[in-house]
Symmetry: C2
Subunit: 389 residues, 2 copies
């Protein structure tokens, strides 16, 4: 960019920013917490209604698309489109604008990697939002850790949460939670959408959890071309899905040894847990049930598991479920959580395990939440309080 | 999201993804390295031409907007718009699509925070790209560090690069480089656009630099409403800009003490450097020249400094430049770099300092690059090799 272009860019930003100083805002609204610097919209009313805005003077029709509803927007004389939605249920929701038929992100907010794309998102404050908000308490770090995968022949990235004090108390060793995102998300999900670091910081400050490391890798389901996966069969519990087996190899053969050799971990199975949300829950059942020598705790948050009628679960996982006593003996906990407003697959799977004789299951329901991140933030809060004690 | 909505979302992703298996691609093209998982465009020819694509069946006119040029796109019968650009100069370039007059990000690539917005970007490979690429060498970590600012009364985030071995060699202490982004960027810039961690990893593996910590904070110029800043006066060297002074206070009073108390630093001035790109270079001159007791090295990468005719530089920085000997005595290095294809403000400022009698200046020109991140990656590579030796 030459000097002139730099200036043109600056001027573009000035005029496209929609910034105006001294502007007043509708009463009883707050700015969404993920607005880009200098932006003031979207704004959220105290009853959950959202005001969206986008500047698109040449567009013919603009919609705001959130929680499965489309809200037509109105244009003013300056080409600024806006709409006030119905009340949106509390929690984290991806959204998009539809401009003359094209789905685009909101240029006023940070984007998130979800449903395989860089999407806008909005966090409708929940009554209990303090538990996932930044408080003035000691903070852990979220570390980007790069490692070369011999299996994949590529440099990969995972994130590692280290609790406050990790660098200071250099003789202390820590248990480890492996924590997976959902389908078409990636290793950034738990920090960005899930606010996992603030949840952990706050629980630690209250003395409610043991200090632990949390490892968030890429479950390799972010780029899974959906049309080459048989969702119906993948949703059933099978150990034959190529992708799943590969991720299992990666976690067991590469990630766990890499973490144990680079961090001060407790590397026995009694101090290792795995949990995941949605498809990450499916992977967690797969990986933990197939590697009972490696894990003592299992968490599934809205685990994406449904049994097809013709699948006998006792044929899966090397026949593990023919011996429910072994599960109860080895696993200190199978923890399952779900949002109250989503399907009942978690309950069904819990019932199936119980029917087979597995006893050590704890089940949690997040009130008034669906298949989204507020459910999973609450799951993380509840699950981690039962770990490594 | 209820179960039905989940399925609808999945189906949306399927149909919107534009994924097709077994598809062939134009010869002599590679996929951009920041494509989202499952995406195959944009693609880059070996001569730098880029093929952009976007699915927008209802749009009337779509342009690809990159390096200040607009390339009209053509629609096929499936509503897929595409264009092959002219050769684009090597380096990192923000770009956007313009759909019926609305500027939007490319849904096929990750976005970057630049020019105050979440923007698409593309990296046209440079002949020397190996130095900023992930190699199979020991990797440092990029740590998200959260801290409460008493000055700002808010929890802030900075990133801290720790070199390989930082956790293992627990008695070793490290020098620190404070490294700033440019105007309307933020603390993510150096990792995401700048690839600073790979640059440092590679230089360390070659034994070309000393191990050091690199701290990247938010220079508070990301959300600076441009229309409340007088660019002309801000560009001149003045110590009166409110924003700049506030950031100086933050760095000096809060960030440096926070880093020195949480990391194993060498906390004397001989082991502390500061550098910044563009506006971050302006801030670096301000902060280092006003705090000569704190820093021994200064780097300005395309530093956004121009002197107005009516400004006497010797009146600035507390009159520091009336005593050029003091600068040469205290600062081990003033390092200035620029791209060959941008304005000559760096050269002019270098000449001014030289004319005043400052001797210890090293000047570097990145060949064939403009005011963009390839220039600054190269500046980082050159500058760090002269630090702490």
């Amino acid at each position: 960019m030459n000097t002139k272009l730099l200036y043109l860019t600056l001027i573009f930003v000035l005029y496209s920013g929609g910034i105006s100083i001294g502007q007043s805002y509708p009463e009883y609204t707050i700015k969404a917490d993920n607005c880009l610097p200098g932006k003031s919209y979207p704004r959220i009313y105290d009853d959950g209604r959202v005001i969206f805005q986008i500047h698109a003077p040449e567009a013919n029709a603009v919609l705001a698309d959130i929680v499965g509803k489309k809200f037509p927007m109105q244009k003013d004389e300056d080409g600024l489109w806006s709409v006030t939605t119905d009340p949106i249920v509390e929690g984290f929701h991806y959204y998009a604008f539809n401009i003359d038929g094209v789905r685009v992100s909101d240029p006023s907010t940070y984007t998130y990697f979800g449903t395989g794309a860089a999407l806008s998102g909005i966090d409708i404050p929940a009554p209990d939002m303090k538990f996932y908000s930044a408080q003035n308490v000691p903070h852990g770090e979220v570390r980007a850790r790069y490692y070369y995968s011999r299996i994949r022949k590529v440099t990969r990235r995972c994130f590692v949460y280290t609790p406050p004090g990790y660098d200071q108390d250099v003789n202390k060793r820590y248990p480890v939670l492996y924590l997976q995102h959902g389908w078409a998300e990636d290793e950034t999900g738990w920090s960005n959408q899930g606010k996992m670091n603030f949840i952990m910081d706050n629980l630690l400050a209250e003395g409610k959890i043991e200090p632990m490391l949390v490892v968030m890798d890429n479950g390799d389901i972010s780029g899974l071309p959906f049309n080459v996966v048989n969702w119906d069969s993948a949703q059933s519990i099978t150990s034959t899905g190529k992708n799943k087996v590969e991720f299992q190899d990666l976690i067991i053969q590469e990630v766990i040894p890499m973490i144990d050799s680079n961090y001060r971990t407790m590397s026995d199975r009694e101090h290792r847990a795995m949990a995941g949300l949605s498809w990450g829950g499916l992977q967690t059942f797969e990986i933990v049930f197939n590697n009972m020598d490696k894990f003592a705790y299992l968490g599934a948050f809205s685990g994406a598991i449904r049994l097809r009628d013709n699948v006998d679960i006792t044929d899966l996982y090397g026949g593990l479920l023919k011996h429910p006593d072994e599960i109860d003996e080895k696993l200190k906990l199978i923890w399952m959580g779900t949002g109250s407003e989503e399907g009942n697959w978690s309950q069904s799977f819990r019932d199936k395990l119980t029917e087979l004789g597995v006893k050590n299951i704890i089940f949690y329901e997040s009130k008034n939440t669906a298949h989204e991140w507020l459910s999973w933030r609450r799951c993380l809060r509840e699950f981690t309080q039962r770990l490594f004690k």
